[in-house]
Structure formats: structure tokens, C-alpha cells
């Protein structure tokens, strides 16, 4: 087998890989931010005493979590315009990833909610906090702290899933790497560098989240 490594061609386009990484990160941040709001709402709905809310949350998770992200992205980009909702490729990917991460985060937050001791909730009610005040001031902070470790996992997973945006020609890291690969035929070099960038970004995200865990010690 004859293959000598020449990284020069990849380094020449390194700025495109970096801008691809930035686009992927930006898409993931926007999507996960929206997904976090969706997940929080759906998780509270999932444990609410009102059956219609519980059913709605259950339906959301069942529909979205059981679809591959790629299918969701293709639906958003190619199918929605057919019914008059035209989104550009960034919007449709961010929207799809937001919905997708929201479904996963619903389960993460729901587990966190179940971990809040019932007695602590009763204590909040007993001093006269309303249900909403209790959820905002007592349940949410405890739940978020308990959910932090699995939250980190989900965030990293969602960032890596930004590579799926390549399928609709969003110029993020995987898309750029594939172009460089095709242009230079430097297969091993291109994908090694791209992998290195993914790993580095994930290590940084994980370190940030661990810092957050240390900042808010376990109760």
C-alpha cells in the first residue's frame, strides 16, 4: 500500500474548516438554546397533573425522538416548502435540530424533575408559594443541577449532529471537509484534521460543562 501523507493541501484550506466549525457550533448553540426551552416546557408538561398536557408532551417526544435527524432535516428543507413554509438551509437545519434536541432534553429534564424531593416541594407550598413560583424558584434550580451531567452529554451529541447539515449543503465542518477531500484527494489528511477539530471542540465543551458542575456543587 502506497500512501504518503501530505497535509499541505489541507492546511491551505484550514480556514474553511475553521469557518465550518464555527458555523456548526453556531447552529448547535441556536438549536440547543431553542431545544432547551422546548425541553423545559415539555418536561413540566410531562409531569403536570393535567392529562392533555401530559399527552401532548408524550406525543412530541414519541414523534420526534423516533425519527432520524437526517429525515427530520430533509422534511424541514424539502417538504415544508411544498406546504408554503419556505426556510433557508440554515433555518431549516436549526429548526430541525431544535425540535430534535428538545425531544431528548425533555427526557433529561423529566428525569431531573422526578429527582426533586417531594418534601422540598411541599415545604415551598407550605410557606405560600404558588405552583408557578414553586416551579420557578425551587423545582427548576434543583432539577437543572441534577440534570447537569446528562445535559452535557446531550449538548455534545447535538453539536456532533450538526454534521448532518452537510446533507443540505450547509457549509459546516463536514461539508467543507468533503469538498477539500474531493478537490485535493487527500482523504486521510482531510478527515484526520476534521476529526481532530470535532474532538477538540467536544473536549472544550465537556470542560466548560464540568466547570459548571464544579461551580454549582452537588447538593
Amino acid at each position: 500500500m502506497e500512501y504518503s501523507l501530505h497535509f499541505g493541501a489541507v492546511w491551505a484550506s484550514f480556514d474553511r474548516l475553521l469557518s465550518g466549525l464555527a458555523i456548526g457550533l453556531a447552529l448547535a448553540v441556536v438549536a440547543v438554546a431553542i431545544g432547551t426551552v422546548l425541553g423545559l416546557l415539555a418536561a413540566f408538561a410531562a409531569v403536570s397533573p393535567y392529562r392533555p398536557l401530559r399527552s401532548l408532551a408524550g406525543l412530541y417526544v414519541a414523534l420526534i425522538r423516533n425519527l432520524p435527524l437526517l429525515v427530520l432535516v430533509l422534511l424541514a428543507y424539502f417538504a415544508l416548502p411544498q406546504i408554503g413554509i419556505a426556510l433557508d438551509k440554515y433555518q431549516s437545519f436549526a429548526g430541525a435540530l431544535a425540535l430534535y434536541s428538545g425531544a431528548y432534553l425533555t427526557e433529561v429534564f423529566r428525569a431531573g424533575l422526578l429527582s426533586v424531593p417531594k418534601g422540598v416541594i411541599e415545604a415551598a407550598r407550605s410557606i405560600g408559594l404558588t405552583r408557578l413560583q414553586t416551579n420557578v424558584s425551587v423545582v427548576a434550580p434543583i432539577m437543572l443541577r441534577n440534570a447537569l451531567p446528562s445535559l452535557g452529554n446531550t449538548f455534545i451529541g447535538m453539536f456532533k449532529d450538526s454534521s448532518i447539515a452537510a446533507a443540505i449543503a450547509v457549509p459546516e465542518l463536514t461539508f467543507e471537509a468533503r469538498k477539500i477531500n474531493v478537490d485535493t484527494f487527500r482523504v486521510i489528511e482531510t478527515w484526520t484534521v476534521a476529526s481532530g477539530l470535532y474532538i477538540a471542540a467536544c473536549v472544550v465543551i465537556a470542560a466548560l460543562l464540568r466547570g459548571l458542575e464544579r461551580r454549582f456543587p452537588k447538593f
Binding site: P117, G119, V120, E122, A123, A124, R125, S126, I127, G128, L129, T130, R131, Q133, S137, V138, P141, I142, R145, P217, F219
Partner: protein
């Protein structure tokens, strides 16, 4: 001469968990400044009674009147309706509750625990809430622990924070539910002394306890509950010194060692 209206009047209270009747018609009056202890074996309905008064439990029959206001339910055309969240919350704020398992907010400091209700329910400004919290923490002997988190406090200290949290709201009535049962033996006394202190300050207390010596010491009246009913009630000296019913005498024999 008419007796003034009691601060708390429980009338014919009945409560079922499914098919199990836990309270079978309880009547109890507390006047301002009364310290009433409820004793009885587990399953007699003591804790459920307290939780009904704090509106943490729904009940099927009877009325609870606090300071002239019927709480928890309203009657429309003879039918009982549970009040909405806002009304229940307002009425819960009139009573304070101290729980067996402390139930402090783990994400807030001792002062933060006391301040939450002052800020959110009584809508006090932060500085004022902080000042009240510090006063109450000092009252329970924890002035130096205001900025400690519950996980940094002993069980006895946590329970004293919980007492400060309940009393800082200036409730008309404080409910204490087996407040020393989850404590290591050497920590029981500091909590009992704190309760005794607030009783001497004139707070109205309804106490569920297994500490007979404490009940005898602190109570103006003692209630013995048995199978969902009040079986015997009277001044502490009478209940402990001269029980009238055989069942109470037997209960006291079994708990006194």
C-alpha cells in the same frame, strides 16, 4: 359571657385515602397562644391531621376555620369545591409548617431558605427580607450560619433553619410534624429547646410528637389520637398523670421507658 372565637377550629374532619378512613370526624379548637401536642401511635392520623390544616392534603368532610376564615374549600349550593391554587397558597401562608425531614431548599443558603417566602409571598424588598432572616436565624442560634448551605449543616441545625423559615413568615399558627424524629439522639435537645423558646414567646403551636417528656413540658393541652379520632384530651398533667381511658394508659405505658 361568650368565649372568643378560637384561632383554629377543626369541625368534623373526615379524610379517606381510597377506601381507608384515616380521619373519622375530628373536632379540635386552638386559641391564640395555645400549645397543643398530639400524641398517639403511628397510623392514628396525627400527621394527616396536620397536613390537612396546612392544606397539603384534601379532605372529604368537615371544616377547618382559621381566624374566622373557612380554608381549603368553598361551598356552592351545598357542594364542596376545592379552592384554586392562588387562594390555597394565600391560606397556606397563614400557617407555618416544620417537617420531620427538614425539607430545606438545597440550592439556597440558610438565609436564602428563610428569605424565599418573604420575597416571593410577602413581596418584601431584599434588604428587609435579609434583615428578618438574620433576626430569625439569630433567634434559633444560627446567626453565624446564615450563608451556609443545608448540606453544610447538621440535622439539628437544618431543622432550626426550617423553624426560622416557618416563623419568619409571621404565621398565625405553626404546625410541627415530628420535628425530631429524623435527628440523631444528641441533636434532639437543641431542636426541642428552640421549639420551647418560641412557645414561650407566645406562638400558637400544634405539635405532633413522640417525645412524651417534651409534650408534657411544653404543652398547654395534649390530645391523644387513636384510629382517626380524638380519644382523650386534656391538660398535659391530666393526660400524663391521670389518663382516663385504658387505651391511653396502655399507650403511655408502652412509650415510657
Amino acid at each position: 359571657m361568650n368565649k372568643p372565637q378560637p384561632l383554629l377550629a377543626i369541625r368534623g374532619l373526615t379524610k379517606q385515602f381510597g377506601a381507608v378512613e384515616v380521619l373519622k370526624g375530628v373536632d379540635l379548637d386552638l386559641d391564640q397562644g395555645d400549645v397543643v401536642s398530639i400524641i398517639g401511635s403511628s397510623g392514628s392520623g396525627k400527621t394527616t391531621l396536620l397536613r390537612c390544616v396546612n392544606l397539603l392534603e384534601e379532605y372529604q368532610g368537615g371544616d377547618i376555620v382559621l381566624d374566622g376564615e373557612t380554608i381549603g374549600y368553598r361551598s356552592v349550593n351545598g357542594r364542596r369545591h376545592r379552592l384554586g391554587d392562588r387562594a390555597l397558597s394565600r391560606q397556606r401562608a397563614m400557617t407555618g409548617m416544620v417537617f420531620q425531614s427538614f425539607n430545606l431548599f438545597p440550592h439556597l443558603s440558610a438565609a436564602g431558605n428563610v428569605m424565599l417566602g418573604l420575597r416571593k409571598v410577602l413581596k418584601l424588598p431584599k434588604a428587609e427580607a435579609r434583615a428578618i432572616a438574620e433576626t430569625w436565624l439569630a433567634r434559633v442560634g444560627l446567626a453565624a450560619r446564615a450563608d451556609h448551605y443545608p448540606s453544610q449543616l447538621s440535622g439539628g441545625q437544618q431543622q432550626r433553619v426550617a423553624i426560622a423559615r416557618a416563623l419568619a413568615m409571621n404565621p398565625k399558627l405553626v404546625l410541627l410534624d415530628e420535628v425530631t424524629s429524623a435527628l440523631d439522639p444528641e441533636l434532639v435537645q437543641e431542636v426541642l429547646n428552640t421549639v420551647k423558646g418560641i412557645a414561650e414567646d407566645g406562638a400558637t403551636l400544634l405539635i405532633v410528637t413522640h417525645e412524651m417528656r417534651f409534650a408534657r413540658d411544653v404543652s398547654s393541652r395534649v390530645v391523644f389520637m387513636e384510629q382517626g379520632r380524638i380519644h382523650e384530651e386534656g391538660p398535659a398533667a391530666e393526660i400524663f398523670g391521670n389518663p382516663k381511658s385504658a387505651r391511653l394508659a396502655e399507650f403511655l405505658r408502652n412509650t415510657r421507658h
